[in-house]
Symmetry: C2
Subunit: 382 residues, 2 copies
């Protein structure tokens, strides 16, 4: 479990351990350091990884090993792979934020260097030290962008001038971060084609939510929850804005449509991918989300559920700090994980209400300053 | 002119200077250092860059400025861009060899780090310091791989489930090096889409040849000519093998078909791209080659021309050290540069004969050891 201390990595590690897998956690605390750099924090007070692991052992009587280090350091990664001899590597170990990658040149270069080099090191470590190992890599639906055709799962059957082939789906990523994931996808595809590695690329939608069966076991096991403009995903951020009386920041016309999923479905999807591994030489791509929403739809939902809870929620359409289509066609396939047995947890009013209630309990921890969008995709607009 | 000391960079710099452009040369001598690392050399004895520039001034009475440094060092690159204020940047400044990128993990990671970071720095330098500047970037036909459909120039009109869009042509690159160029192409496309940069991606075929109008002016102006398994392109390598009586090393069945062009046409293409720059916000992709050949066809041509010159040429079909299709469909569009006025210099027997003659004059400099292929795409085959 690379990146096993993060928003999704930590609950996934617990979920897999609870399912009986032997889990090793690798992290360099990049996500915690990013929050420190940005002057933001996690809504829930997360414990140090070492204390999380101690609590996990107390509560479940099972043990997870941990390695603290950076996977862009090949010698470190090789030590871990040799010591642990993994049957599968779940790779969340990347810089995960689009706005972070757009702050300036230095953050852009560092995002691509970190993500591309880390993933290359993983591919070489598998090739040379654990060639049977199944790589489960977290990609993003944002690799596809918003083409004017239906989005398929990783590959497209192309008919052209009387011939046909199945080729990688063309990509129109919308940030330096999303580009880094496109680069990863091409590198992983190569490793499968040329070295016979087996990999699953999970092109995940936008995740929301805060609780999983394992975080509920003990408050020390909670996962981080970011709500600032750089690290917070849109629905999580809207819910925090609703609780503190900050207008919901809809970017531009709000017609931006994306795939979304509950954090519990992220865990389920990773588990399903691990249970049915890719074949030798296969790169399998799953689009990992359960529902499509526009930003406007999400804002309206948070406003209506918030109102029912007595919150006064205002929606504020601000100038889009990103360069993106604000209205567009969007229809993305996402059947492969359902065929493997995914039972989706749709976004209900109850889910939103629960999120708002948890956030309200921690309202005193919320920092206002990091919420407002200030990272511009095109700095000439300043 | 980034990479202005290399096989193509140096003759291109001279060609543009001869055409009346003010040219600045940037290089970190990576190519010279690679040859040193590999224990190989340039067939022609090349002079230090500083002496080349002195000779150029003596011969032509025109001056080229030079900056020695690494474009992955953003501060260095920004200094150059601020000082020179370029109207266009011709970007050859990358690790150019597929086998070099496949030597081991370290060379693979360094290839992608060097090429991706360097090009990102170029994009940011243009955005922030010279937004009108036209980027002419050397890509490679190898980005496309060998799909079972016709290859178009950068983009593909896709019809899918009743809708259509023009999307980046899907890529199947065949090495870590070729992958780095795919990453660059995606990054450049983003910079054009989001920041309004103007760029031309020249997806170049395999270059052969040794003389240009400017190298003929003075022997001190000659360009490097590599013939080893890592840095030498196939036709150049075959000609050296023919001269020294080394069997021509055809990889596998020899049906690998690629686009080829004479070095003089490389210079012509770059000049044409500069004369008709891309529009603001446009990424233009040209497939830069003049003819398609299979490896077998080239070997036969060298053998027959060599025989006419009294050389005893043997063709040796060795096990392919690469992982690639040895027989495949290949039909790649290359009309856009012809529409701009490219006058192709086809591969004639005279061109091959001239190459063989030049090589024969420098036969005593040829090192045998670096010629044999030893870099394996899949090291498990050892």
């Amino acid at each position: 479990m690379l990146g096993g201390d993060g928003y999704l990595g930590w609950p996934t590690a617990m979920s897999l351990a609870a399912a009986g897998h032997e889990v090793g956690v690798v992290d360099n605390f990049a996500r915690r350091n990013m929050a420190t750099e940005l002057g933001s924090n996690s809504l829930l007070p997360i414990r140090p990884l070492q204390e999380r692991l101690r609590a996990w052992r107390e509560v479940t009587d099972t043990h997870m090993r941990a390695w603290i280090g950076d996977i862009t350091d090949a010698a470190f990664l090789e030590t871990v792979v040799e010591a642990f001899a993994p049957q599968a590597i779940v790779h969340y170990g990347e810089q995960p934020s689009a706005p972070y990658s757009m702050i300036d040149r230095r953050h852009a270069v560092e995002t691509q260097r970190n993500n591309v080099v880390g993933t290359l090191n993983v591919l070489f470590a598998i090739r040379d030290l654990a060639p049977e190992c199944h790589l489960v890599k977290l990609g993003t639906m944002g690799e596809y962008g918003t083409p004017n055709i239906d989005i398929e799962e990783g590959f497209l059957e192309v008919r052209h001038k009387g011939r046909s082939d199945t080729l990688p789906f063309p990509k129109l990523p919308g940030s330096i971060y999303h580009l880094s994931k496109v680069h990863d996808s091409h590198n992983i595809h190569f490793a499968c084609r040329v070295w016979g590695l087996r990999a699953t690329d999970l092109n995940q939608g936008v995740v929301y939510g805060i609780r999983t069966p394992e975080t509920d076991l003990d408050e020390r096991l909670c996962t981080r929850f970011d709500y600032d403009e750089v690290l917070g995903t849109v629905l999580n951020r809207f819910c925090v804005q609703a609780v503190v009386g900050y207008p919901l920041t809809v970017y531009g016309r709000g017609g931006q449509t994306r795939g979304f999923l509950n954090i519990v479905d992220t865990l389920q999807c990773v588990g399903l991918a691990l249970e049915s591994p890719a074949r030798v030489g296969e790169l399998r791509v799953f689009n990992q989300f359960t529902e499509q929403f526009s930003v406007n739809t999400l804002a309206e939902k948070v406003a209506s559920v918030g109102a029912a809870l007595g919150l006064h929620v205002v929606v504020d359409r601000i100038e889009d700090p990103r360069v993106e289509a604000e209205e567009h066609y969007y229809n993305a396939a996402h059947t492969k994980l359902m065929e493997l047995g995914l039972e989706a947890h749709p976004l209900s009013d109850e889910v939103v209400a629960h999120l708002l209630e948890v956030i309200a309990r921690h309202k005193d921890r919320i920092l206002i300053d990091p919420i407002a969008p200030r990272t511009l995709w095109d700095p000439r607009r300043r």
